[in-house]
C-alpha cells in the first residue's frame, strides 16, 4: 500500500551571507537537510524529534510547499510536493507558526471563514465548518472577539483550529502545545488522538518527550539534517540495550530473593532491609521480559509484594544516546 507521505533523498542547502566587514560578505553553505528518506503510513501519528536547528522545520516547510527543496522528491497523499503543489496544499492541514499566521484584527470566526475560502470551500461549508471547529475547541464565548484580545493559549488553539478547516487527510502540527497550559495541552492531545482515530495521518513535532512517547506510533530522530533513528517508541527504547532496573518492596523471604537472583535475565540483585520491609533492586537486561518472571519467582516463594517500581528508559535517554545532546541544545546554523 502506498504510504501517505513518501520522502526520497530530500535535501535542502541554504547559502547564507556572513558579514566580514562594512562592505564585504562571504557566502557560506549550510546543508539543512541531507538526503532524508522516510515513509509515513496512512493513519499514523508520526513524531519528529530534534533540537533547534536539526532540520525539522526545514523538512516540514518542504513538505508543505513553503520551501523548495534543493534535490530529492516527496509525495503527500500521492501528490508531488513541487509538481503538484496546489493539490498538496489542499491535502494538508498545517499548524506551523503557532499564534503567528492569524489576522489579529479579525475574530476567530472571521479567521476560520477566511482560511476556509482559501481552501476553496463554498460559502455555506465555510460557515458550517467554522462553527464546528469553534464548538470543538470550546471557543464559543470568544469566537466573535478579535484575536488581538486573546491570550497566547487561545491563539494557539485557534491556530490549531485553523489547521482543521479544510478537513485534510494529513495534518502537520509543529509544536502545537507550545505556550498551552497543562489542561489545554492535554485537551489538544486528546483531540489529536481523536482525529487520528478518524483516520487522519498526523506528523507531530515536539520537544516534550512525554508527548512523543504517549502520542506517536513511530518517531524519527533528526539531527544535523539527517534521520538518526526511526522506529516505534518501544523499539527505540529497547535499542539502547541499557540495563533495566526494577525496585521491589515487600516482605521477601530468603528463598524468594534467591529465586529472583537465579533468573537468567537478572544480572544483579541488591537488598536493603528497613523497618521490616525488604527492598530489592533488580538489574536485568530487559525489564519488559523479566517483570512477569520476577513476580512469579517472588510469589511462588512466599514473598508478599507491596510495591514494584520499574526504572524506565525514556525517549530523552534514547535521544541523548543517539545524538550526544539533549533536546534543549540549540544547533541552529542558519
Amino acid at each position: 500500500m502506498e504510504p501517505e507521505i513518501r520522502i526520497e533523498e530530500l535535501s535542502k542547502t541554504y547559502y547564507p551571507k556572513q558579514r566580514k566587514g562594512l562592505f564585504k560578505s562571504e557566502t557560506t553553505e549550510v546543508e539543512a537537510l541531507k538526503s532524508v528518506s522516510l515513509q509515513i503510513h496512512e493513519g499514523e501519528i508520526f513524531g519528529l524529534l530534534g533540537p533547534n536547528g536539526a532540520g525539522k522545520t526545514t523538512l516540514i516547510k518542504c513538505l508543505t510547499t513553503l520551501l523548495l527543496p534543493s534535490s530529492g522528491d516527496a509525495w503527500i497523499h500521492g501528490r508531488h510536493i513541487v509538481e503538484q503543489e496546489n493539490e498538496v496544499r489542499a491535502a494538508v492541514g498545517c499548524m506551523l507558526m503557532g499564534e503567528r499566521g492569524l489576522y489579529w484584527k479579525l475574530t476567530a470566526r472571521e479567521n476560520l471563514e477566511f482560511f476556509g475560502a482559501l481552501y476553496h470551500l463554498s460559502s455555506s461549508d465555510r460557515k458550517l465548518r467554522s462553527d464546528e471547529i469553534i464548538e470543538l475547541l470550546h471557543m464559543e464565548e470568544i469566537a466573535d472577539r478579535t484575536v488581538e484580545t486573546y491570550s497566547s493559549g487561545q491563539k494557539m488553539m485557534l491556530a490549531f483550529g485553523k489547521s482543521l478547516i479544510n478537513d485534510a487527510p494529513v495534518l502537520i502540527l509543529d509544536e502545537p502545545t507550545n505556550t498551552l497550559d497543562v489542561p489545554a495541552a492535554r485537551e489538544l492531545r486528546g483531540l489529536v488522538r481523536e482525529l487520528n482515530e478518524e483516520g487522519k495521518t498526523i506528523v507531530y513535532t515536539t520537544h516534550i518527550m512525554s508527548e512523543a512517547e504517549t502520542l506517536c506510533d513511530r518517531v524519527a530522530i533528526i539531527d544535523h539534517g539527517e534521520v538518526i533513528d526511526l522506529g516505534t517508541v518501544p523499539d527505540l527504547k529497547s535499542s539502547l540495550h541499557r540495563d533495566h532496573v526494577t525496585h521491589i518492596e515487600g516482605v521477601i523471604p530468603e528463598a524468594a530473593r534467591a529465586a529472583v537472583g537465579s533468573l537468567p535475565e537478572v544480572t544483579k540483585v541488591a537488598i536493603a532491609v528497613a523497618n521490616g520491609t525488604t527492598k530489592l533492586t533488580v538489574v536485568s537486561s530487559d525489564g519488559r521480559v523479566v517483570l512477569p518472571r520476577l513476580i512469579e519467582a517472588l510469589t511462588e516463594n512466599g514473598a508478599l509484594v507491596q510495591q514494584i517500581e520499574p526504572e524506565h528508559v525514556t525517549l530523552e535517554d534514547v535521544f541523548v544516546a543517539k545524538t550526544g545532546r539533549t533536546l534543549s541544545e540549540d544547533t541552529r546554523v542558519v
Binding site: 523548495l68 482559501l118 470551500l121 460559502s123
Partner: protein, 285 residues
C-alpha cells in the same frame, strides 16, 4: 468530530479564483474598518496636505482667482489625485506584503491552494475604494479654497484614469516583489520612490518647471505621460498642455502602461516568490 460525515463542496477553476478574491477583499475591508483612527486620520492628512500646497501655490499669485483661472489649480489637484493613488498603492499593496510577512499571515496564505494573483488583486480593491474617497475629499477642499477648478472631458479623463491606475497597481505588484526580498529596506525604498516620482512625474507642478536634465529623465517614465494626459484632459487642454507629447501619443502610452505594467509586476512578484521559497525567507521578520 474532526471529519465531517458529509463531504464539503470544493470549488475549482474560475469560481475558486473568484471566491478567493472576494474572501481576501472582504478580509482587507474588515481589517480596514477596525482601524477607525487610521481612516479618519487619512482624511485629516489629505486635508492638511492639500491646504499646505494650495496656500504655498497662492503665495505666487496676486489672488486665489488668478491661481484658479490659470493652470495652477488644475495641475495641483489632478496631479494630487494620481499621487494619492501612487502613494497608497506603494504602501497598501507593496509594503502591506511586509506587514503580512511580519505577522506570519503571508506564510499562512502560502499554505493554502488559493491563487496568489487573487492575493495581490484583493489589496487593490480596497485601495481603490478608500483612495477614491480621499481624492474626492481633497478635490472638494481645494475647490472650496479656490472657488473653482477646471473640469472638462470627464469621459476621456476617466478612461485615462483607469489605465493610469492599472499601471500604478502594476507598479505596486512590482514593489511587492521587491519588498519580499529586501524586507525592511522596502520602507526606505517606498519613501524614496514616492519622492523621486513626485519630482520626475511632476505631480504638483507643470513639467515645464523641471530643469532640462530632469525633464529628459521624466520622458522615460510612462507614469509622467499618464499624469500629463490626465490633468491636461480634465483641464480642457489649456495652451501649453499637454506638455510632453501630443495627447494622442500620451493616451497610447498610458494605455500600454496600464496593460503591460500589471503583467510585468505580477511576473516580477512570482519570480520573487520563487526566490524566497528557495531561500526560505517567506516568514522572515
Amino acid at each position: 468530530m474532526g471529519t465531517r460525515s458529509t463531504p464539503m463542496k470544493r470549488l475549482d477553476g474560475l469560481s475558486a479564483l473568484f471566491s478567493s478574491l472576494v474572501a481576501m477583499s472582504r478580509k482587507e475591508f474588515i481589517i480596514m474598518r477596525r482601524y477607525p483612527v487610521e481612516f479618519v486620520a487619512s482624511f485629516g492628512q489629505v486635508f492638511a496636505v492639500v491646504a499646505v500646497f494650495t496656500l504655498a501655490a497662492l503665495m505666487f499669485s496676486s489672488s486665489p482667482g488668478e491661481f484658479a483661472e490659470g493652470t495652477g489649480g488644475g495641475v495641483v489637484i489632478y496631479g494630487f489625485a494620481l499621487f494619492i493613488f501612487l502613494s497608497d498603492t506603494l504602501w497598501t499593496i507593496g509594503y502591506n506584503i511586509r506587514r503580512e510577512q511580519k505577522q506570519g499571515t503571508l506564510e499562512a496564505l502560502y499554505l493554502s491552494p488559493a491563487s496568489k494573483f487573487a492575493s495581490l488583486v484583493s489589496r487593490v480593491t480596497n485601495s481603490l475604494i478608500w483612495t477614491s474617497l480621499l481624492v474626492v475629499a481633497g478635490v472638494w477642499l481645494m475647490s472650496t479654497m479656490l472657488g473653482r477648478l477646471p473640469f472638462a472631458n470627464p469621459a476621456l479623463g476617466v478612461f485615462i484614469l483607469v489605465f493610469a491606475l492599472a499601471g500604478i497597481f502594476g507598479v505596486g505588484f512590482g514593489f511587492a516583489a521587491i519588498t519580499l526580498r529586501i524586507k525592511e529596506a522596502g520602507q526606505t525604498l517606498a519613501n524614496a520612490l514616492q519622492f523621486i516620482l513626485l519630482i520626475l512625474s511632476a505631480y504638483f507642478f507643470p513639467f515645464g518647471a523641471l530643469p532640462d536634465g530632469l525633464l529628459a529623465i521624466s520622458r522615460f517614465i510612462p507614469l509622467s505621460y499618464a499624469v500629463d494626459a490626465f490633468r491636461s484632459t480634465l483641464m480642457g487642454y489649456p495652451p501649453g498642455f499637454p506638455e510632453l507629447a501630443p495627447i494622442e501619443i500620451e493616451i497610447v502610452i498610458t494605455v500600454l502602461f496600464g496593460l503591460l505594467m500589471p503583467i510585468i509586476g505580477y511576473l516580477l512578484y512570482r519570480h520573487s516568490e520563487a526566490h524566497v521559497r528557495k531561500t526560505g525567507s517567506l516568514s522572515e521578520y
